[in-house]
Symmetry: C2
Subunit: 304 residues, 2 copies
């Protein structure tokens, strides 16, 4: 079934303790689309770039089954650019540069064909843009997931909450769950966040894995311990893309399916961090992904 995603399509400059890249293709919607494409070839992308964005990368997305009719290409303008540097503890990073460029006045316009998409993944963006996308849908999608971050909680909490109210699944990290809920315990945070609208909560904990909360149930998807972690950029978006790509393919929003989606998302994210940018997740095949999923199963397997 069709998966609509909105998010940035952009350039990144990244420095980690293991290397540095000056200008590579990134952006939440890029990672989401590539990851989702391993499960689903009916992806509707909503975003904006300048005319500096490489055609080769757009063509690569098209080949993966990503519809780009919702991608605005602004003549004479520049694509969004983000630059960041990771600490030795790669769970933290400093933002060095944020050039909004085309993103400054981005007004997402959904092509007619997008408006009945079955699944929606709202990538991390200003809540106003996420809301504009939902407002244009002609029917209530089967499942709406939303990613966001502490930045929007700091400067636009009220508006953010009006969007959160309309989604089924919220994906945030542990600190953000604490900030949003005002609760320290993640179990208590989940209960509080459920009163805000979402039925499902995914708490991403980077190298410590991810938790899925649903009613009184909790599922813990570990992160794969890796020998080489070069660049965590995009891991959360890759997780979300794998997660929603799997859900859109499987067609049923059951807890059991969502647990599998957590593992597929975690598997994709585990590839993502092994190289810079989208390098590692672009050339994957189904067999490699299934192999990694088996490793996840083995990682937590025990018998009593």
């Amino acid at each position: 079934m069709s998966l609509l995603t909105v998010g940035t399509v952009a350039f990144d400059a990244i420095e980690t303790p293991f290397g540095k890249v000056d200008k590579i293709v990134g952006g939440a919607a890029t990672y989401i689309s590539i990851a989702a494409s391993y499960f689903n070839n009916d992806i509707n992308l909503v975003s904006v770039v300048g005319d500096d964005f490489p055609n080769a990368d757009l063509n690569d997305l098209k080949k993966r089954g990503v519809d780009l009719s919702g991608l605005q290409i602004k003549k004479g303008e520049k694509s969004f650019f983000w630059s960041g540097k990771y600490h030795d503890n790669m769970n933290k990073r400093d933002t060095l540069v944020t050039d909004l460029n085309v993103l400054a006045d981005f007004d997402p316009v959904l092509p007619e064909a997008y408006k009945k998409s079955d699944y929606v993944m709202l990538g991390n963006l200003t809540p106003a843009v996420q809301k504009r996308v939902l407002d244009q849908m002609k029917k209530r999608p089967k499942l709406v997931a939303m990613d966001t971050m502490n930045f929007w909680m700091d400067i636009a909490m009220d508006e953010l909450k009006t969007v959160i109210k309309r989604v089924d699944i919220l994906t945030i990290n542990d600190e953000e769950a604490r900030q949003l809920s005002g609760k320290y315990s993640l179990v208590a945070a989940a209960k509080e966040i459920f009163t805000m609208g979402p039925k499902f909560l995914v708490i991403k904990k980077g190298e410590h894995g991810a938790l899925l909360f649903y009613k009184d149930e909790i599922f813990y998807a570990p992160a794969m311990p890796l020998e080489t972690v070069y660049d965590p950029t995009g891991a959360g978006d890759t997780f979300a893309g794998g997660f929603m790509g799997y859900m859109a393919q499987s067609g049923r929003a059951s807890f059991a399916n969502m647990k599998r989606a957590m593992i597929y998302g975690s598997a994709l994210a585990s590839f993502c961090v092994e190289q810079f940018g989208t390098e590692a997740i672009k050339p994957l095949d189904k067999k490699q992904i299934d192999e990694r999923v088996k490793q996840f199963a083995k990682l937590v397997q025990f018998s009593m």
Copy 2:
């Protein structure tokens, strides 16, 4: 089979965001012995206290099958006292007071009956004391586990390494694994630490669970997400006690058994943090522990 443990038996004063206690019974060997007692009633304790230590608590240990003939009681002296305050992020704490008292010149002397113990759990203590215990063993135990901390890495790394060389299992936290190995990746850290002697490495990550490394295998035991975490003090020792208590009972140092031991240790630790000090782990029964273990199984269970 018999389990020998050495570590502190002491008083703690603890402040967490959720409360404060002035002087309660604590110490690594206390937590280890109580946790292990749910699996094993042949525990040989080596430690030292002053004559200020409550008889009621010593009797409680005896009732659990803990032999106290290796516990020195120093007349006119005071027991070890530690006081700490946890940050809002309960993974960090500041030590406020460390009164060594009887621990300052502690020379562990093993009763004859202890010297052929099958299993040994060296609780966190100065490496010299841990070494003295091993030196007195009359036969190589089936399995020796050792806990330590960054403090000893800072001030006594060389001596620490001579003890690490002699143990089968090292249990440390993620930052300590990085400090000891000089490697950021925990997979790389494990490989490095294996060259130092241990065949098994347990990396404790607090609320993020624990990892067991053995050769090229990795097992991830999650921590139970809890609604109320009052006090993390002793959780690592409780984990170690449950782990080694289970191993001593099961009698075989296989990887499969060790995975089960990780889950039992994690289950005990999950009780520990729900109340201050040893309050939560003292009144448990087998049924409660098995119930918690089932919850752990459910937490990570998925089918592909």
